[in-house]
């Protein structure tokens, strides 16, 4: 059982704490409930750009000194942006927790960006976009799939945003964004590691509790229309071997169907005895790699089936096998053995996940932010034990429906010339 405590600061910011005494360090995780789906269609990528800007200095931390001070005190930091939230962490020796909170809170207490760092980080983000998307094999998968899976909501654009939007952001844009979303009511602070609970509350009140609680406009209303058709497209990429991807829009993270589909996905493709591995990789040699996964988001999730073809194999072969696998689940569900082994794997992985304070803090922030329920950290395995085969079949029939999906076939842009 993971032990945790909660406290609400005087300005409404939520604090979660978990004491772990393995090493003399602490993780300070600050998560803001804003991500790319909350952006305006003409200002995409601002959540992620802002993530970069949070490390460039603030009112009392000179430009470029955030990580300098942190590193010089035995700490380090990083962050990530999703469609739904932005999560920052810094790690620091526990005897310096107050310094960590000072550094972290200063960039939330007042607008931390200046023109010069904005311009540099725009360039860095554009290089990141090239590295992750434009210059990377299958790097267009996220933008290409999202724009077909979603037509109205902010899930339809990639997290990194449109290049033109990123180039055009002005200081005013990022300032508006900051004052709208980086406010106490939109923030969860989680501190995990070598801490004393009372002292952590005292320090959190001191550094974060005084940040003004302002009322803001909130986020745009989420609107999306059902996906009720099939789209199949071929994308030419700088790749040597083709690949086929199936995407299904499925219910949001935390819903019952989400967990059922997570179980289905685990059963189908974890381990070399799994159906996906046996029928696509080891048995037929059709693919060098094939797997399913469920990416959970706040308002919808995506069930993907990815298949990277072996040399000399074609998409039609893969396509038939992939469809057979999913149709069989809709018709017959999963075998008892498949369910048991999936839950066993989930359980093994769980114990490794919670061994680091960083992963623990991230999970606690997430559960607090979206479900207001940190105890979910202790139910990650149990919640998979409850599903019977009827539920599994029903969920597969309803959500992994052939008539309702996005298909992307990636093919080589040019014929391969013997550069093996």
């Amino acid at each position: 059982m993971i032990e945790f405590r909660e406290h609400t600061l005087k300005n409404g910011m939520r604090l979660v704490m978990s004491r772990q005494k393995v090493i003399p360090n602490v993780i300070i995780n600050t998560s803001f409930r804003v991500g790319s789906k909350d952006e305006e269609p003409e200002k995409t990528g601002i959540s992620h750009l802002f993530e970069h800007l949070m490390f460039t200095g603030s009112e009392n931390v000179p430009q470029g000194m955030f990580d300098e001070i942190l590193n010089a005190n035995g700490g380090e930091s990083n962050a990530f942006t999703t469609q739904d939230y932005t999560s920052y962490y810094l790690s620091i020796p526990s005897t310096r927790i107050e310094l960590g909170m000072w550094l972290d809170s200063d960039r939330i207490a007042s607008f931390p960006v200046n023109q010069e760092s904005l311009e540099i980080q725009k360039k860095v983000v554009l290089e990141e976009k090239k590295q992750v998307h434009d210059n990377s094999p299958f790097g267009s998968l996220e933008p290409e799939s999202h724009k077909r899976l979603f037509t109205k909501s902010g899930y339809r654009w990639p997290i990194i945003g449109d290049e033109k939007h990123v180039k055009n952001f002005k200081l005013e844009d990022v300032k508006d964004f900051f004052y709208r979303y980086y406010v106490p009511s939109n923030t969860v602070l989680t501190v995990a590691g070598d801490i004393d609970y009372d002292e952590t509350i005292r320090l959190a009140e001191k550094y974060y509790g005084g940040i003004p609680a302002v009322k803001t406009n909130g986020r745009p209303v989420y609107e999306e229309v059902p996906l009720d058709s099939v789209s199949e497209d071929t994308i030419k990429d700088n790749i040597a071997l083709p690949a086929r991807f199936l995407f299904y829009r499925v219910p949001e993270a935390g819903s019952k169907d989400y967990y059922v589909l997570k179980l289905i996905s685990a059963a189908l493709s974890s381990g070399e005895s799994s159906r996906v591995y046996r029928s696509l990789v080891s048995g037929t040699g059709t693919a060098s790699e094939a797997y399913t996964l469920v990416s959970g988001m706040e308002r919808a999730s995506i069930f993907s089936f990815n298949c990277f073809l072996s040399e000399g194999k074609n998409i039609a072969e893969a396509s038939a096998i992939m469809d057979d696998i999913l149709e069989d689940v809709s018709e017959n569900g999963l075998k008892e053995e498949e369910i048991v082994k999936s839950v066993n794997k989930v359980e093994t992985s769980y114990y490794f996940k919670i061994q680091t304070s960083l992963r623990l803090a991230e999970s606690l922030s997430y559960y607090k932010m979206f479900f207001d329920d940190c105890s979910m950290i202790n139910k990650e395995v149990e919640r998979f034990r409850i599903f019977d085969n009827e539920t599994i079949k029903k969920s597969a029939r309803q959500h992994l429906n052939k008539g309702n999906r996005v298909i992307l076939n990636y093919v080589p842009k040019r014929k391969r010339v013997g550069n093996d």
């Binding site: 090493i23 360090n25 009392n60 470029g64 990580d67 300098e68 590193n71 010089a72 005190n73 035995g74 700490g75 380090e76 930091s77 790690s91 020796p93 005897t95 107050e98 310094l99 000072w102 207490a109 540099i120 360039k123 860095v124 290089e127 990141e128 090239k130 590295q131 992750v132 434009d134 210059n135 094999p137 550094y207 005084g210 700088n238 040597a240 381990g271 070399e272 005895s273 080891s282 040699g285 060098s288 990277f308 072996s310 040399e311 053995e337 048991v340 082994k341 066993n344 794997k345 989930v346 359980e347 093994t348 114990y351 490794f352 061994q355 680091t356 040019r414 391969r416 550069n419 093996d420």
Partner: protein, 450 residues
Amino acid sequence: MIDRSSMPAIGGLKDVLFPPFREYTHGSGLKSLFIKDNRFPVITCRLLVKSGSYRDFFRKGKSGLATLTAEMLNKGTFKKNNDEITRLIDFNGALISTGAGYDASYISFSCLKKNFDVMFGLVSELVGESVFPEDELTQKRNQIISSLISLQDEGAYLAERAFYSALYEGTPYETDPDGTPDSLKNIKRDDVVEFKNENYVPSNMILCVVGDFDEDKVIKAADRNFTGGDMKIPVNGFEFRGKHPGRRVYIAEKKDAKQASLHIGHAGIHRGHPDFVKTMFLNALFGGMFTSRINKNLREEKGLTYGARTSFNCLKHSGDFSVETEVNGDKSGLAVREIIKEMNDMRENPVSDKELESAKSYISGNFPLQLETSNSVAGKLLSLELYGAKKDFYDHYLSTINSLTADDVTETARKYFRPDELIIAAAGSRLDLAEQLKEFGDSEFIDKVK
């Protein structure tokens, strides 16, 4: 409101001790390392074979043999076929992985405490009684070949391979440990059987078990399961040239490249070298941290890249130093100039006290994170054993780092940074790169990935 204008006072660092472990040498010559960790009901077991792709070199044209052998272990034994093996692994909820690097091969698994005995028995069977079925071998070989072909879609991989094959040309570290599509096609079942029989012998293996387990029970099981066979062939040392006079430029074509992938460096030191810790510290200052000179210059000041990092890669018989980054194609010349400038600066000018103390503090304060999971501790111990380093290395690690002076850093940089001997490997648009990099020397185009 509080006064935020001054930094809060900081406390000193608490002492960090490397977790206790037990070493045990079995009658068979097998070496065991045990770390008890009862926090969670899980156990990780790693079996390391002290032979990796280094040995492939001595079977001409068959690089990738060590990897293929490791990946074939679960394909069938005298008692079980692949289906029975993988079902047993998955049913027990175990996470298993096999593979090979330059200096070692491995098979490891993690599982719940209650499933450990079954899994340990199974892995022993895989190591002792594998039969390497011919049809499974064909399938696995094709799978690895396809993965290698796809890897060549990535600029960073092309640059990395161009760098390593130039630096280690004619030596066992020249090719990718996984081999090449061509070399894999040369490997026959007999090669795999022979590699396994020669190298997977107790006196050439290290067993490391971490978690909630009974040591004496594991010792007895290992004594029963891992028997016989001494290492018949000696480890072949190798003459590495080490130094390459002059700068050389290697360019690999990546069609429609939107960036240039750079992999730049030269020979370094092997893991057992007495200057190992000094080079680690030099690297921290130069390019091992977010605020190191290289990332600060290329990313935070110039916005040329999403990131740049450097490393001393220390292997058993040799090693290298390199800088890796991805930049806009028309900025690759500028990026290389800046890297050379920073290397020279490190050689010529002493680091400031502030920079020195900052790096020491970063390493000292951050080190405990590397001891947080017992798995990470196991990795460190296995590495010490594999490379023949002293087991109390980590007891003195931080005090050694903290005793280094600015003069030590300059001296280390003068010894191990040789900007005039750089191998500059780049992947991207071939003609653009040739133009961008021409000031650094004649360029050679790389057509074949090794």
